[in-house]
């Protein structure tokens, strides 16, 4: 047979098919099988991607341009009218939304550096080789990650509550009155909960990256006479910067979604109102004010801010990476 076997794209496949069948036929059958397999393996995920990601986002965007005019008590189908950007204007000119934006921004500014620097410092300390009981320390630091966010919030809320809290009692014995839920302390108190939950988790990511560093590099730094601190800051940190950046980005994205902790605090202190963060504003608009147009517009704004920030961070990192080379 003089069939010309063109080297297809999948050049890795060698022509060692069983001699009985014609190579062309096996090849074609093989390709069809591969297509089938690809479809079968990808279909469930693609279906989910469409059903719980693309459709909802599209629907929310659509809904944000409409408003439902309920007649009287809202019985029966209200009339849906196109309102254009009215919901967006309403959201962006709502002082409580802007206040929520402000508190989330402030929260990000405190939380992200705190968790990244804290976790990095702990990882470098664990990596320094000076720590006793390193594995135990690592396990204990990681422990809070196994505590669900709402439970972490419950624990800390009780530790912040006068009467329940041993911390406040301890301070009281030294005649210090401390109010964790006051006007200026409530945001740091929320940061502390998130820090408690995230510190060990991010530390493990950094530590894992540090463990993968080539030992020759560290050896060279030692021979050059660099001390422990200098090696850590000038050699180790730059090498694991992709991990640092990843943690920064995920912390930032997570921080923008702030909801669980303040939602719980809302039950305990008037300092956290029901529109304290962006997600709380969305929840409040949808389920307390029943204004889906407003809630959709706020969701879309949050979505855009989230995507824009993560895009900006990756772009900025990419450029820095290129200029560093």
């Amino acid at each position: 047979m003089s069939t010309v076997i063109t080297p297809g794209k999948r050049g890795k496949r060698t022509g060692t098919a069983p001699p009985a069948a014609s190579p062309v036929r096996t090849r074609r059958a093989g390709r069809r099988q591969q297509t089938l397999a690809t479809v079968a393996l990808l279909a469930p995920f693609t279906a989910l991607l469409v059903a719980v990601f693309l459709v909802p986002v599209g629907y929310a965007i659509g809904l944000s341009f409409f408003s439902e005019d309920h007649d009287g008590l809202g019985f029966g189908g209200g009339e849906t009218v196109f309102t254009g950007l009215r919901s967006y204007i309403a959201v962006l000119s709502d002082p409580s939304f802007l206040a929520g934006f402000g508190s989330v921004a402030l929260y990000c500014v405190i939380f992200v550096p705190a968790v990244v620097i804290g976790a990095l410092a702990l990882a470098l300390l664990l990596d320094s080789g000076l720590i006793r009981l390193r594995r135990t320390a690592q396990m204990l630091l990681y422990l809070p990650h196994a505590v669900p966010g709402i439970i972490a919030a419950v624990i800390w809320l009780y530790l912040y509550t006068p009467g329940l809290s041993p911390v406040i009692k301890l301070f009281a014995q030294a005649d210090i009155t401390i109010d964790f839920l006051g006007l200026h302390t409530v945001l740091p108190s929320i940061v502390n909960i998130a820090l408690w939950s995230g510190l060990g988790y991010n530390m493990v990511i950094f530590y894992a990256a540090l463990q993968a560093l080539p030992r020759e590099v560290l050896e060279a730094a030692r021979i050059d006479g660099a001390g422990g601190v200098r090696t850590a800051l000038l050699v180790k940190v730059p090498i694991i910067r992709s991990s640092v950046l990843m943690v920064c980005m995920f912390s930032l994205i997570a921080a923008l979604q702030l909801f669980t902790e303040p939602m719980l605090m809302n039950q305990a202190t008037p300092m956290v109102n029901s529109r304290f963060t962006l997600n709380m504003y969305i929840y409040d608009a949808a389920f307390r004010r029943n204004n889906y147009g407003l809630a959709s517009a706020a969701s879309v704004i949050l979505l855009i801010v989230t995507c824009a920030l993560s895009y900006a961070v990756t772009r900025w990192a990419g450029r820095r990476d290129r200029s560093a080379r």
Partner: protein, 289 residues
């Protein structure tokens, strides 16, 4: 060349730095450990003692009483929440990671049209957190009448684009292409190869994705809060939240929230300790590009 520093001084400075470093790490571990310990001790207190004297004393030990109160309160709702959480998290994470690993494997091993575009969509999904999607999902679910059902929480948690991303990396690391070729030469079908050979080689990767998803679903709060109004469908997180709001009015709920929280933490800690070598490999794979 002679150094001017005497060996003695180096030894002392090393000793001080060792002490300082250990002290810092010790303080950090106390910071993470003490609140968890407080939960443990507080769970042994009844409502009066919780507000009373010394939390770390073991006087008036009422752990057993709290435990039976916990499962008796509101007609055994807590037990239902626990089972719901297990169902959402364990079954959801199993099915979800199978879906993600299959997709990640397909992205790694097969060529198809618009592959990288589709993968770009996956990466966008990684950047968009579940909470942003909660309200849009609610709107769609209410449109098709799925609100306040088991499926309203169960289906969205199956979607795990980070798992797909992770599985693609792990698949290229764990499953050599030669294995696929050898299997083809033997005449095995592609799916057969995936189930019998590749999935087995992907075992550790599967566990990693499973662990990530299990944690995420167990911690899930916003989505169930948006979707569910029937208390019998609540997961633990939402149930404990409602009990905590009741506690501000009727303080007998406080010890129940405390001990309920303690029990809710146990499954994840047990899983993490049992499978610890897997999540570490996953974390490294996720951070190294």
């Amino acid at each position: 060349m002679t150094t001017t520093t005497t060996p003695g001084r180096i030894a002392t400075s090393r000793l001080t730095s060792r002490t300082v470093v250990n002290a810092v790490v010790l303080i950090a571990t106390l910071y993470t450990l003490l609140p968890a310990l407080w939960l443990l001790f507080a769970s042994t207190k009844n409502a009066d003692a919780l507000f009373g004297s010394d939390i770390f004393s073991l006087s008036d030990f009422s752990f057993a009483q709290n435990l039976s109160d916990l499962f008796a309160m509101d007609g055994g709702l807590y037990g239902e929440w626990y089972l719901n959480s297990l169902l959402y998290a364990v079954v959801g994470a199993l099915v979800g990671s199978l879906i993600s690993v299959s997709a990640g494997y397909a992205f790694d091993k097969y060529e198809f049209r618009h592959k990288e575009k589709l993968f770009g969509l996956v990466l966008t999904g990684v950047m968009v957190p579940q909470t942003v999607l909660a309200l849009p999902l609610y709107l769609v679910a209410s449109g098709i009448g799925l609100v306040n059902t088991f499926w309203a929480v169960f289906i969205p948690v199956l979607f795990n684009p980070f798992g797909v991303y992770l599985a693609r990396i792990l698949s290229s690391g764990y499953v050599p292409n030669e294995v696929l070729e050898a299997s083809r030469v033997d005449g095995a079908g592609e799916l057969q190869t995936y189930i019998r050979v590749s999935l087995r080689m992907l075992g550790p990767g599967f566990v990693t994705v499973f662990l990530f998803q299990l944690t995420a679903i167990w911690n899930n709060f916003f989505l169930p809060m948006v979707m569910l109004s029937d208390q019998h469908l609540y997961p633990l997180s939402l149930g404990l939240y409602t009990w905590n709001s009741s506690a501000t009015v009727s303080p007998e709920y406080y010890p129940l929230v405390v001990i309920g929280s303690l029990l809710a933490v146990v499954p994840l800690i047990v899983t993490f300790v049992a499978l610890q070598r897997y999540w570490k490999s996953g974390l490294t794979a996720g951070s190294v590009k």
